[in-house]
Structure formats: C-alpha cells, structure tokens
Amino acid sequence: MTFPILSVIIFTPLVAALIILMMPAERKTEIRMAALLSAIFALALSFWVYLSYDQAAAGYQFVEKYNWLPQFGISLHLGVDGISTPLVLLTGVVMFTGVIISWGIDDRPREFFAFLFILASGVFGVFVALDLFMLFFFYEIAVFPMYLLIAIWGWVKTREYAAMKLTLYLFIGSVIALIGALAMYFNSGMGTFDMLMLETANFSARFQQIWFLPVFMGFAVLGGIFPFHNWSPDGHVAAPTAVSMFHAGVLMKLGAFAALRVGIMLLPLGAKFWSPLILALATVNVVYGAFIAMTQTDLKYMIGFSSVSHMGLVMLGFATLTRDGMTGASVQMFSHGAMTALFFAATGMVYDRAHTRQIPELGGMAKALPYVAVTFIIGGLVSMGMPGFSGFVAEFPIFMGVWQVKPWIAILSALSIVITAAYIMLAIRRTFFGEMPAEFEGHIGPISVMDKVALTLLSAMMITLGVFPGVMVPMVQTGIDNVLRILGGA
C-alpha cells in the first residue's frame, strides 16, 4: 500500500489541533512550536504532492478510497487533479505563513492555533474530496471555526457583527447548495455521492438547468459573487491577521472551487444555460468591486473589496467555459490567494505598530518598515496585473476566454485594471511614502525574521509564477481539459 499522503495532509492539522488543545494553556512557546512544526510538515507534504503530480498522466492522482457509510454510498474518496494541486499547495503555504505571522498572538494562543488548524483541515479536505458528501462535510468544518476566530480574536469594534454576518451568509449558501446536492443524489438513482460517478449520471437537461443555479450560487457566495459579496469585506476587516489571510487567501477559493467542481462539472448543461448570467454578475464584481475599493479609507476594507473584484475575475473565467478562461481562473485562484495573504500580512504588520488602518492617518511607513513596503508593492503590482508577476499570467488568459464568448464584457471589465492601478498606487503612496505623522516617530518597530520569511515566501511565489508560467499553467491545463471533456461530452 502506498503512503496515503492526502489523508495525512488533511489530518495533520486536525491532529495537531487536538495535541495543541491538550497542552497546558500557559506553555505558549511550546504551543507555538507545535503549531509551527505541524504547519511545516503539512507544507512539505503539499509541496511534495505538487512536485510529484504527473502531468503526463493527468487525471486524479494520489487517489484514496475508504468506505465510510456504504449504505448511503458515502466514502472518503480523495484525489487531486491539475486544478486542486496548486490549491493544496496554496493552503499549505498560507497555513505556514499564517502561523509564523501569528507568532506574537498572546491572547489564548492555544485555542487560536487549534481553531486555525481545524479550519485548515477543512480547507484541505474540500480541495481533495471526490465525494460530494465529504466535500460538504469539510466545507462546514472550514466555515465553523471562522465564526469563533473572528468573534473572539477579531477587531473589537465589528467582530460580533461581522462574524454573525459571515456565518449566516455562508451557512445559507451552503444549505442551498446542499439541497441541490441531495437533488442530484436522488435524481441520479445511483445511490452514491461519489462525484466521479455522478459525473456520468446523465441528468436531464431540464434537471440541470433548474439545479445549476442554486448549487453554483450557493457555493459562489463564499467566492464573493455579486450581489452576495458584502459579508466578505466585513469579515476580512474584523478578522485577526492570520484569519484574514486564510479567509481571503484560501477560503474564498473554496467557494469558487466548489462551484466549479459541483456546479459546472456535475451539471454541465446547466452551466452552459446559465453562463451569460454568471458572466454578467461576475462583471459587476470586477468593475464595481474595483470602484468600491477605490473609495475606501480603511486599508483592510480596500483589500477586502479588491478581493471581491479579483474573485470576480475567477468567476468570469469559469463562466466563459473556455479553455483559456478556465485556465486563467484557476491560476488566478492561486495568484490571488498568495497576493491577498501577503496584503493582509503586510497590513497586519502596519496595524500592529501604528494601531490604525486609516490610510489618511498613515504615511512614511517605508522608512520604518522598508521590507513591508517592498513586498506590499510587489503585491500591488500583482493586483494590478503587471506583467512579470502572477496576476498578469492569470488575468490575461481570462480575458482571452472572455473575448471568445462576449467581447464587450472583456472591454468593460478591463476598465478595472486602470481603477485597480489607481487605488493601489494611491494606497501605497499614502501608507508607505510621504511624511510620517509625528506620533509614529520612534514607535514603529522593525518586523521580525519570521515576518520576513512569510513575506518573502509569498512574494517569491508570485514572481516565480509571473516570470515562468510554465511552473504551474500546464498542470492546471490538464485539469481544465478534463472539465472541457465533461462540458463537451454532456
């Protein structure tokens, strides 16, 4: 029997969470070390999966299947394809960087890391699940700790409100999607939740058209699709730094990923039927999100709305149902994940020192925090879609895909590029350059080596992908080709 690498990846954070919970609360250093070690372990494994994924063979690899409730056709069926492999790596990276960024958390670190790891476990689970039931199972595991993490460790002013809003939005979304999943289960008549088998169920066109929208939109809520996006900036802002990183970095990808996996791949005819609507909504995301981001004065809100805009590009790419568009969208998930994790990490470092995130109140931070400034600028360039960085590599094919279906949408949504450039450049200038307000003089301490490691790792990934798209795109394409086969064959 081969090494069950995927289940080890899923259960590493979970086991680590249990171990951490059993440690005495006052031994904070040991708790942190345990968290760090397990994060490194999970990162190493996910990097191993990424490297050893065989692109020539394509398809689902590292497959594991254990019966769980055979009476209902539920099994722990795991596997990764070209789309989910980069996302597993992304989760590993965000988990690792999230832990080292949160090194300084002093308020109940034991519970904090435990909840964070349960969340990570759920996220890994969704990306590798090949069973519909398991996908929901992990999905809820990922959403639930979010509530506690925000409500307990969040920003005092809005944490209860934001945590409640986020949880309600996501639960309602997932319940609607769950109804759709049950409809598929019963309609297929196969008595299984196995997604690979459901792909061959040949649902009637009418069934697919009716159920696509609830399933897709139910998940897309977590992807921040308009008009169900407004939980997300509130959630980002209220969450502590590491949770924001997780939230925007990988949690929003869960929504888009599940919408693809369950919505588009199981109900391809429905996807074809509704794609114009999704395209239209996603365009609103892209353009409107960018405009709203521009009007924000709170750095975290600005990044939150820019996430809405960028996740709109992911939806846009998927909704084109073309090879270019979907490839770009998958790469964008990775690129945006790294970028936004970097943004929130950098913002957190500024906030921890200046105790404000209001852009007009900041200034001159580059002098005290040059490293943060440089990496924030790199993130900004990714966000603007500047060539040479991963954002360009991701966005360009998305736009090419949109050209193939609705040229005017390409033209319209391209506006967001200039708007994004404007607000990012303004935010960089006002936060990091200019005069430093007198009250900060001497109060802005340097960042730690840990912080530098996190920022460097995230920046390096974005530059590597931007300069050498070949390190990821061909892999993603093998996954997309499978989606296209389903779309074409249905």
Binding site: M384, P387, V393, F399, A410, I417, R429, F433
Partner: protein, 507 residues
Amino acid sequence: MDFIYSHLLSVILFFPVLAAMILLFLPKDEVKLIRWTALITSLVPFVLTLVLWSRFDANGGAAFQFEENYVWYAAINSNFHIGVDGISLSMVLLTTLLTPLAILASFGITDKVKAYMMLFLFLEMGMLGVFMAMDLLIFFVFWEIGLVPMYFLINQWGSKNRDYASLKFMIYTMGGSLGLLLAIQLLGVLFGTYEISTIVAGWNDITGGTLMGMEAATVKTVAFWAFVVAFAIKVPVWPFHTWLPDAHTEAPTAGSMILAGVLLKLGAYGFIRLVLPLYPAESAHFAGWLAFLAVMAIVFGAFGAYGQDDFKRLVAYSSVNHMGFVLLGIAAAAKAYGTTNAHIAMNGAILQMFNHGLSAAGMFFLVGVIYERTHTRDLRRFGGLFPLIPVYGGIMIFTSMASLGLPGLNGFVSEFLVVRGAWSQLSGFTAAGMIGLLFTGAYILKGIKNVLHGPLNEEWAHGEHKLTDINTREIVVMVPLMALMLSLGIAPAWLLGVINNAVTALF
C-alpha cells in the same frame, strides 16, 4: 564566450537585472561602491551592443538577426522570441548608451542610492525588451514593465509636485495601454499565436466578412485606433501630451534624460513596428489625421515651450515639438506606403528618434546641472551667466543648436529627410510644420538668451550661491552625446545605412 555570442540579445537584455541583483547585496551605506558598480555594470550592455553592431549584417542579411526563441507561456502560445533589425538595433544602441550616461549623471543622488540604481537598471531592461520583442505579448510585457520603475523614480526622487505627476504618468499610460491590451487579446484569440510576423500576415489577409459578430472593417478601425491611442500617449502626440510636461518637470534629472531619450521612442517605435505593418490600409486612410496631429504637436509644442518660464518645462515641451516630426514622417510613410518617399520619410523619422534621444537627454542633463547649483529652474532668475560658466555655456549652445536643427549637426539631417519624404504626400501639413520650425528656433533662442545672455543676476556671481562651472564628471556625460551629434550631422551614413535596409525591407 560562445554562449555570450550565441545569446547576445538576451545577455544584453537581462544583464541589467543581474547587475541589479548584485547591487541588492551591496551594503546600502557604501554609496560610492553602489554608484560605481551601477555605472560599470551598465557599461557592459553598451559594450555588448557595440559587439552586436559590429556583427550585424546590414547588407543582404536577414531583416531580423540574432533571433532567439524560447517557449514562455505555452498555454496561450506566446514565445519569448527576440531579435533585432536595423530599426530596433539603433534603438537598442540609444538605450544602452543613454543608461550609463544617466547613471553617471545621477552621481549627485544621495537618498536611497541603491534602490535608485536598481530601478534604473530594471527600467533599462524594460525598454530593451520592447525594442527586441518579436512576440506581441512579450512586447506588451516589457511595455508595461517599464512603467513601474519610472513611476517610482518620479515618485521617490522627484521634486515638489511629484505625487501628482507620477500618478498622472502612471494612469495616463496604463489607461492608454488598456486599448492596446484589449486589441492584443483580440489578435491573440483570432490567430492563436502572438508571433508578430504571423499576426501581421493573417490580419492583412482579413479584408471582408465579420469578426466577433461585427464587420471586419469596423473591428479593424477600432483596433487601429486602440493601438494608435496607446502609442500616441507615449510619444506623446498632441492632444495626449499633457502628462509629459508634468512628469518631466518633477522627475529627477536622469529620469528625465531616460524619459525623453528613450521612453518616448517606445511610442514611436510602436507605430513603426506594429501600427503600420498591421494596419497599412487604415494608416494610409487616416494618414491625414495623423499628420494633422503631428503638425499640431510641432506648432503647439513650440508655442508651449516658448511660453514657459521654467527651464525644464521648456525642454519638456520641446520634446512634444520634436516628436511631432517623427509622427509626421510616420504619417507620410503610411500614406506613401511602398514608395521611395515613404522610405525617405521613415528613415528621417527613425533618425529623428535617435537624434532627439541624444539632444533631449543632453538638454535635460544641462538643465539638471544648473538646477543642482542654483536650486531653481526659473528662467527669469537666470541671465548673463555666460561669463561665469563659459564651458557650460558653450556646451549648452552646442546642444541647443543640435536640437534646433542647425545644418552640420544631427537634427538637421533627420528633419530634412522627414520633410523631403513628406512634402509630396502631405504638402500642406509639411508646410505648416516648417512654419512650426520657426517657433522652434524662437524658443531655443529664448532659452539661450535667458540663461546665458542679458543682465546678470548678481545672486549667482558672489557669496554662497556663487555659480561654479560644469565639472569633469558632467563633461564626461556630455562628451559622448556631443560627439554623436556632430558625427551624425556630418556623416550620418553609418547609422542611416543600417536603418535604411530595415526600412526598405519593412515598407
């Protein structure tokens, strides 16, 4: 050595990045070391360009030489394909020549020297990439990359109003390239490749029918203007020029040298490399409009320059004026596509690009020299400085005359060729442009008069503000520029020969 010879272009292109990486690991307080490292490493691409020039076969060789082709982004079929023909070769030479001079000119910078030098080297890579690209996407990649270092050079080392100017520069250029980006995507989707030669051939084969649900002719016209606007903003062509005086005025001296010397050429190069080959019919059809814009740039640029009291703004507007001649030549070549007149006009336009690169860089540097000493650029506060700083005065008059187009210096040759080629096609516009040349003379003489002649402002003659003459380092910056101005004025054949072969092959 074999590796360098067989990868000459990519070595030239990426050496600045390597140099920037070396700088990154130098201690940031060792300012002298950083400066000299930057200067010496930036000379390497220049020397390699001379090697390139000597190995380039201008007569009878293939149009594009030293080609290199690697897979870059397989998913959308874009290759890292670079090569040079006579046109790009002359622009590469201009870039690798001006960058070390600009770095030498920046030895006075004391604030964040390391970051400054690194940005300059990245900027050099961006500009070189545009001139070498044979793949449309690679062209765009380098086109956009150049923006970032320039933005930060203006924003961080500029003068008082730098925030406004740098953002305006950024948004203008990004907004302009939006249409370009969309048009490139359209072409990529249509042809499934970004290879420029393939796209040019395929695009010109489409003469009727529908594209994307619209008439092909309409789509082509829209795409034509998308390209034109993007490049016109960069040139800049009237009425898209308003970012330029602001950016120039606020940029540090060396930034202005590169901005005027090379970055503006990117726009004109885009016209020559992409617009004319891709849209010969549209270009010919709209040549009158382009010529009109060119003449407006010449005339209004001259008027604008004359109206300035800020020395640097005066030189900035002169760029609008001079680049107008480039566009006029391009418009004439578009109209007369394939004839001798087109070749003459195009030769003139490209030579004018090179010449303006020399004279504008020189003029901006001279403005910087006097600004560094007096901390003002206000022409009304200068005057009568010639006896105080005779060497500077001589150099300034020489450079101004080159810019004016005095026969015997370089500007004359190129402007003459443009006018000669344009006359039979666009007589009215050419005549109007010639009258504009009159005002060119006026503003240049105004500059000379207000700085060097007239009553002396006593402030500069004595005391703590006593003006010192141009120093050796500064003379070293100017000497190569002046030598080229003179040699191109007397014997332009060495450069025109290379350009002409490419022009006749292309048009």
